[in-house]
Symmetry: C2
Subunit: 410 residues, 2 copies
């Protein structure tokens, strides 16, 4: 039997925010506060940099009722960072801070890079003979983490994207004068987010074309297809991933200007505006480019309850498993069938499982001409966007958690 | 007593869509179908052009249960247009179609221009001795119609804007490396929409600066203020109206390029991207421009129940009043106090009330340095965003009305 480990814990949040990363935080905080083994609960300000800078919040001083609102507060309430550990010096500093506060549990809520940080910290603590259990809690809207069926944060972003596409589709086709509308969705190398736009088809408002980064982009083919649909239907709605690339691997968003194809200027406005301009140049149609931008990753009001619940569960199980003796692992979600219905169970993976890998959309979930996803993709994502969240509103506006964020004393 | 007028009615939708224009449509359709006087209910395809082109839908052939979903279907389900009547020829054609279908009631759901169309149609029918009652039903997210306290469509757009600003604010401040975020909101000449971003303050997530089109824009002053806030807080979130203008009246969005201030290229990406680039040039900060674009006017999932109810009521009262003998009027909303609580009653205004006028934000509802709205503004808009709508979702996605849209026969 694993020996009981008594001491404090610290939670940190890293990387790009999601609509539900704070639900994972609440899962960690609440479970830690209720445990006998964990003596104090700290939150690091701005991820691992909060530990390096000795800037921890004393979460035990927060009102427990206020902490509950983390379940529906988007973005990383403790602050985030994009910091890569700089070797021995940083690790020694982390050990120093852990000793200062008697931190015996470290929970890092982030993506790929955060799992790498977890691994380094975990190994260093073991080498140093300092007993500390380290668990990574995954989050990313991009859904590109290997070792987990899907990732907390993805379902809510997918629901936001599908709903927004359905609504914009209704707007984009409203005039008899016709229009071509290009919507840009996040996802640098994986098409999980842009593929979710296909779900708008269940509201009879699917985009006509969907371009994923997994398929090399051909501008001429794109223009031909858009023009053909526009001529037939008088309207065309296109979904593009920010990460679409030409066959030589260069991002379309970074394409060199040319005076002949409408790429007349370098654009600050992003890919959607650029492609809309090019397609307007070709067709003469009224065009509009729309970038979902930050809205898609912080849209907590449209978070899926399934995603919120799973995010909470990931945080809760991280703490429970660490107390039970788990160390150096990443929480992962495993899809199971409950009498034919979607179910999800927590499993644990080595922290190395996702290192330097990105899970992209299987090519056989993309149609043959690379302009849509298949039913397999729909079947995969649909269970993840279920459930309207039970968020609290006050005066018709979101009620976010208002934490005191009191600096911890050792 | 007014004589009973027996005959068909036609409803048409015009101008830019809103999240609740179809709730007004349902108010018209349901009330007309239940009336004894109205024999048939038609919907014109794409506004007045559907009448000119003899393209009417026979709404009596729709499933009444399906029509109910119009209450939560964004955009103009019958299609819209931006067509200005071309004098006598068009009016004569409208009379011809009205006679063909025995149309005795005409309901036009639109903004300023639509009220002008209503007036012309109304006057022409009277001159021609053809008895037909004409009522305008207002809609616009811009809230710039004169003669009504506020306009159906505005409250829902305001709620979408306030919620989205609150969420994006949480995301925009997440990194300790700092950021400046510029969000662009619709409103060519009136600041009602951009001012609604101030409501995010009730979620403790207000933008730091708000620029309305009512106040001349000064780029140097803007840069000074953004830089000062960024230096103090490490973050700055700015709301700008698409319609901000320099003191000479030129739109900032159409400003001529210059190589010295960062306006180095003409931008397709819009005002937010341009201002973000300029402010990044000045401060060296990480910047992001976000345009709420069509999302803000079709975000039915965030429609306010108050707005939905008022939109429905406007349509319902239009029909009831026409049956009772009203003609050549615009439905308007009058704010009343119900024991100190917000209330709203329907009144009728001459169709000329809003002609060639735009209702802008009173200057004393804008703070002295032109970078925010006052409590009077908040008090005005807050009642209009109340109530989470009771929309139906299926599979986690919006359930829109699916009309058959069968072409009418005379």
């Amino acid at each position: 039997m694993t020996q009981k480990l008594i001491g404090a814990c610290v939670l940190a949040q890293s990387g790009g925010p999601t609509a539900v990363i704070n639900a994972s935080a609440y899962g960690v905080i609440k479970t830690a506060m209720e445990s006998e083994e964990i003596t104090r609960v700290f939150g690091a300000a701005h991820g691992i940099t909060g530990i390096l800078n000795d800037m921890l919040y004393d979460l035990d001083k927060e009102d427990p009722e206020e902490l509950k609102f983390l379940m529906n507060t988007p973005s990383s309430e403790l602050g985030s960072c994009r910091y890569k550990l700089e070797g021995e010096k940083d690790l020694a500093r982390i050990l120093e801070i852990f000793k200062k506060y008697d931190i015996r549990y470290f929970f890092y809520n982030g993506g790929n890079d955060s799992m790498d940080t977890c691994l380094k910290v975990s190994e260093y603590m073991m080498e140093s003979g300092y007993e500390c259990r380290v668990i990574g809690v995954p989050k990313t809207i991009d859904n590109d983490l290997v070792g987990t069926d899907h990732c907390p944060g993805y379902g809510s972003a997918a629901k936001y994207i599908a709903t927004s596409f359905a609504e914009v589709y209704k707007d984009a086709i409203v005039y008899n004068t016709g229009a071509i509308t290009v919507l840009e969705v996040m996802g640098r190398n994986a098409g999980w987010l842009v593929g979710a736009s296909a779900l708008a088809g269940l509201s009879n408002a699917a985009p006509d074309l969907i371009y994923l980064p997994e398929v090399p982009f051909n501008l001429d083919d794109f223009l031909d297809k858009v023009e053909a649909i526009y001529k037939e239907k008088n309207n065309c709605v296109v979904a593009v991933s920010e990460g679409i690339k030409y066959s030589d691997g260069t991002f379309v968003s970074e394409a060199k200007p040319s005076t002949t194809d409408g790429f007349g200027h370098e654009q600050l406005g992003g890919l959607a505006a650029t492609l809309a301009a090019v397609v307007g140049h070709r067709t003469g149609a009224k065009v509009r480019g729309i970038e979902l931008s930050l809205l898609q990753r912080c849209g907590a009001h449209l978070a899926s309850q399934v995603d919120i619940d799973e995010a909470y569960l990931a945080g809760k199980c991280a703490v429970e498993s660490a107390i039970a003796g788990e160390n150096g692992k990443m929480v992962a979600l495993n899809r199971v069938s409950n009498n034919g219905e979607y179910g999800c169970e927590i499993i644990f993976q080595p922290l190395t499982v996702s290192a330097n890998l990105e899970k992209t959309v299987p090519l056989d979930w993309i149609n043959s001409d690379g302009t849509n996803v298949t039913q397999d993709f729909i079947d995969y994502v649909l269970p993840l966007i279920q459930g309207e969240n039970t968020r609290v509103t006050v005066n018709g506006l979101p009620r976010f958690a208002n934490l005191k964020k009191i600096k911890a004393e050792a």
